[in-house]
Amino acid sequence: MAIVEIKKISILALQEDKDKIMRLLQEMGCTELIDIKEKIPEKEWEEVFEGEAKVKERDTLERDLDELSFALNFLSTYDKTKKPMFADKPVFKEEEIASLAKDETVWEVVNKCRMLDGALNEIRSEEMKLHNTISALEPWENLQIPIEDIGASKKVVLLTGVLPSKGFEELIDGMKMAVPACSVEVVSKDRETVNVLIVYHKDVESSVMEILKNNGWSKIDLPKLVGTPKEAIQNAEQKLVQLDQRRKEVEETATSLIEYKEKLELVFDYYTVLKARKDAYMAAGKTKQSFYMEAWIPEPNLDKCLKVLNDKVEGISITVADPEDEEDVPVVLKNPRLVEPYEMITELYSLPDPRKDIDPNIFMAPFFFIFFGMMVSDAGYGILLALASFLAIKKIKPKGMAKKLLELLLLGGISTLIWGAIFGGWFGGLIPLPPIWINPIEDPMSLLVFSFILGLIQIYTGLILKAYINIKDGDLLSALFDQGFWLVLLTGCIMFALPGTAQAAKIVAIVGAVGLILTQGRTQKNPIQKLLSGVMSLYDITGYLSDVLSYSRVLALGLATGVIGTVINTMAELVGVNIIGYIAMVLILVIGHVFNIAINALGAYVHSSRLQYVEFFSKFYEGGGRAFNPFRINTRYINLENGEEI
């Protein structure tokens, strides 16, 4: 239970067996290799580690993988075949793929993909250019002069440009008066500007320019093309059609390559496995004849792993050791099946540090279960939530985090069903069933107190766990002083609230408080500081108070679900007056309640997690552990049939 014990194995074997051993380890997938480079001084590296050749081999693999993944990405955009969403992966043997991987067609396909991609990019940039040309020319479509004629000739200048439409008429009139050897032709207009062609004799250039510049003129250079703007636009459009044709051809070629996709996937996975193995090589040290490596292994897998290695490899020497204190040991958690989904909550916070922490999951899970149910608190929602997650688990067969999340929701749904029945909430009162225990809307105060009691139980659990950790570490005094006295003081405070124990409460509280005052300053040297720190520590009582009050969210979120449910039902009832109304009513009910489930399940998850992280974990849990990352076969598209995975 809890944190699995991790052992360290050191393997010393012949260089010629290295491949075999690496492959066995990868197939078993139960070890995490330790990079021993860090332990060896830099000068000795070169002698001990794989030379250039091996590094190059690995880099080549990495490059090939990049190419393959590019080609797969490229092809998948053209792959229109619908795949069943959760098909089983095909199974291959490693030797089979090894011969397939030598097939040259794979690399031909990859190269073709690169070429096609290049062609598509070219087409795209050309299209962009043509579109720009067209949009630049569009305002000048009515211009009857070929573009190449615009500009200065020996005596006459033709200019295209823009003038503001405000005051345009006056400007033209003024110009005609001032400079007769000049003509202005309006090509097109929009709301604020006028596009004009101006023709003038070179002799009057300076006076024309002066007038124009004073009136907001800006010159426009048309794209350097041949023919009138209209012709140029038509030209460009024709080119666009041609480009589109070319694109279709390229895409057809790409589609014809899809038949090779499976082959590519196969090689991709095979190379991934090979690269992982090469990476593993880098972690091991070698001499001429032998090599040495270290790895972490969870204790339950140890015997089987040793047996496989000893049986299959002759002359291998394996030593098993406990990890040393300062070593960075990875964490593997093992919990009962029902608690497993809750590991996710802890994983998202931080894994336990095997040197300092205990696995909090088994203590946290019951609280999370209860709080989630109380926050959603509607039996009907619970049934739907549990059913939906159950179906999702059956249909999708998720793995890892997704699996844990769905199982968490399934358990949450069950808890919701239980609490909903207790509170008498069935789809916000749509089905009027009496509460088994209490109706939160009629008697919120009792439920508030109940939430606080649950909070107190969790805070006590946290303190007791910290005391347990201290005792386990041999720090009896800390357990007694830091946790014991707080437990006494808190108990005293609670007793004040109970009828008939006020007298005893005073004594218990005082014992706790005095204990804290006397002990909390024990790290200080100066006696005055000792006392001061002791007294100051009592201030932490406000922390405990706010922790307990924080549990009021359990009631608040529970109330929110119930009331929103009622709102939905009332709205539905209001519209249900005729046939159309009935349809609207059903719609409101379905959409409303689904929305309510979604928003409240999210809220319940977030706030239940928060209660664990902030109120519970803060009492005893540090975290900072590192997840176990086994050296194993990790494929995306196929399953590699192999020896035995442990």
Binding site: L348, T566, E573, L574, I599, L602, H607, R610
Partner: protein, 159 residues
Amino acid sequence: MEISLGQFFAVFGAAIAVLMPGIGSAIGVGLAGESASGVVTEDPNKFGQTLLLQALPGTQGIYGLLTGFVIMQRIGLIGGQLLEISTYQGLLLFSAALPIAFVGLLSAIAQGKTAAAGIGIVAKRPEELAKGITFAAMVETYAVLALLASILMIFGIQI
């Protein structure tokens, strides 16, 4: 029917209970949405994670609606006849709406900023999503407390 001052105050209370947290949530969700769009531009696969964070500042609006609705129900505005309400009762209901109105408005904006920052976490380290959510949930605590106070007050007022 004669409308009394009490009825006016009660409806006014319901109105601000919906109005202010609603504004806050709209701003908060908007802030988070802007950051989320930025992240999704870079990596469209993060849509789900960022959406989760964006949804968090939206709850204040729901709490506000809830409070407003409870007031409306208590004064018989929904599904019945508007009840006779004295000026003092009306003022009491109005006061009861204040916690969620103000805390909802401001906490939704603050939570929106925190969620936007949390989306920044997701951009760089998607595996740390839960921490971003927790930071945002810390802000929401006060909206939940305000909701609780408002609801308890509304239920406690004799009509």
